[in-house]
Amino acid sequence: MSWVVENLDLIGRLTVEHLRQSALPIVLGLLLSIPAGWFAFRFRLTRGVVLTAVGLLYTIPSLALFALLPPLLGISFLSEVNLIVALTIYAVAIMTRFVADALSSVEPSVRQAADAVGYGTWRRFWQVDLPLAGPVVLAGLRVTAVSTISLCTVGILIGIDNLGYLFTNGYQRQIIPEILAGVVAVVVIALLVDWLLVLAGRALMPWTRKGA
């Protein structure tokens, strides 16, 4: 415990860095997965292609993905860009399936009713399909946020400081409380963000509160 008390500054600074690095992949994952999920939902042909592609991307272990991206994208191996692109890829891979399932969960009769009262495809998507798919999309976003925050720690292996620093530093210096503090900090902020997403969902989607 004394290690934690003496190093609260360090833990605080790394936590801020950690959240900053995780935020962008989570947001990008949500934004990119909406069109990708729609393609998977809308056409039988693209469904197979999109879902197989995201499934394969998700299969690639993180350390191997860090190694593959630099030569493919011309970015530096030991860089924050590499970490953020890799985390975004995993976020899109998780979210796309959720978005596709979410859109499939909307009752066809509701969609027909919207068509019947004159909604165009574009307006129907934003005002009918997406709001009704919201709860399942939110479930996907929660899984994505928690996984991203947890996976972000691997960035320390390519020299990016975040809470993962406490793992390698604690290991090299053989300080068990340091690693434990890192693990606990990651779990706490992941569950905190998860809880904030639930609250945001209730605020933004009041129709889910009324209950069926």
Binding site: G55, L56, Y58, T59, I60, P61, S62, L63, A64, L65, F66, A67, L68, P71, F77, L78, V143, V146, S147, I149, S150, L151, T153, V154, I156, L157, I158, L163, G164, L166, F167, T168, G170, Y171, Q174, I176, I179, L180, G182, V183, V186, V187, A190, L191, D194
Partner: protein
């Protein structure tokens, strides 16, 4: 694309074949760690999951466990356990970490598979006089197998990725080449090892995908294709 040529050249280089850690040995160790850990985890999680799915008891705890487990950073867990067990017990410590990480997805696959069986089907089985044990063994478990295999699939991929990270604590598995490659700035070795890892993960995933289809009982498969 020179880098990819260099990486492939590294895979077939004499250095990778018979250096301090031959590639074939690294692949076998990687697979051995993965299979042993998933098997141990399955021995615990499968019966527990079936029981949760069948009785509905402990469901809340199982759901909470599999959700919260996602938040645990696997790399941190490996390093933590190695220090706790002592650096002379790296193999046991790492394996324990892999097993702990594999349990939640297998548990989720086992209970959700049993739970997903339609209520009418279970009622039908009881109506023809099956005991509770027979309902579980002859109806719920066979119908839940695809979801269970799905859970084993996630667990296996999770462990393959974590064994890679464990290359940081010992000179074993395919991750070691990447960790060592970062230290000596050998990008051909880093990329070469990464390619081998990707192939390994994709092949395992594909095998599980085939298995998931194969375990669907015949009658169920026929009805689905007739729909």
């Amino acid at each position: 694309m020179d880098l990819f040529a260099d990486a492939i050249a590294w895979i077939f280089s004499p250095e990778a074949q018979s250096g301090s850690l031959p590639l074939s040995e690294a692949i076998w160790t990687h697979l051995a760690f993965t299979f042993v850990s998933v098997l141990i985890a399955a021995a615990v999680a499968v019966p527990a999951g079936w029981l949760v799915g069948h009785t509905g008891r402990g469901r809340e705890a199982a759901v909470a466990l599999s959700g919260a487990a996602r938040a645990v950073p696997s790399f941190g867990l490996v390093l933590l356990l190695v220090l706790v067990f002592g650096v002379t017990h790296k193999v046991g410590a790492s394996t324990t970490a892999f097993v702990l990480l594999a349990i939640p997805p297998i548990l989720a696959g086992a209970y959700s598979g049993v739970e997903a069986v339609e209520r009418r089907v279970v009622d039908g089985a009881r109506a023809v006089g099956m005991t509770s044990r027979q309902v579980l063994g002859k109806v719920e478990i066979p119908l839940g197998l695809p979801l269970l295999i799905g859970g084993l699939r996630s667990a296996t991929l999770q462990v393959v990725a974590t064994v890679t990270l464990a290359g940081y604590v010992g000179s074993w598995g395919l991750g070691f080449y990447i960790v060592q490659g970062i230290q000596i700035r050998d990008f051909a070795q880093i990329l070469g090892a990464a390619l081998v890892i990707v192939v390994l993960a994709v092949v395992l995933d594909l095998l599980f995908a085939l298995l998931e289809r194969a375990v669907v009982p015949h009658g169920v498969a026929a009805r689905r294709s007739a729909d």
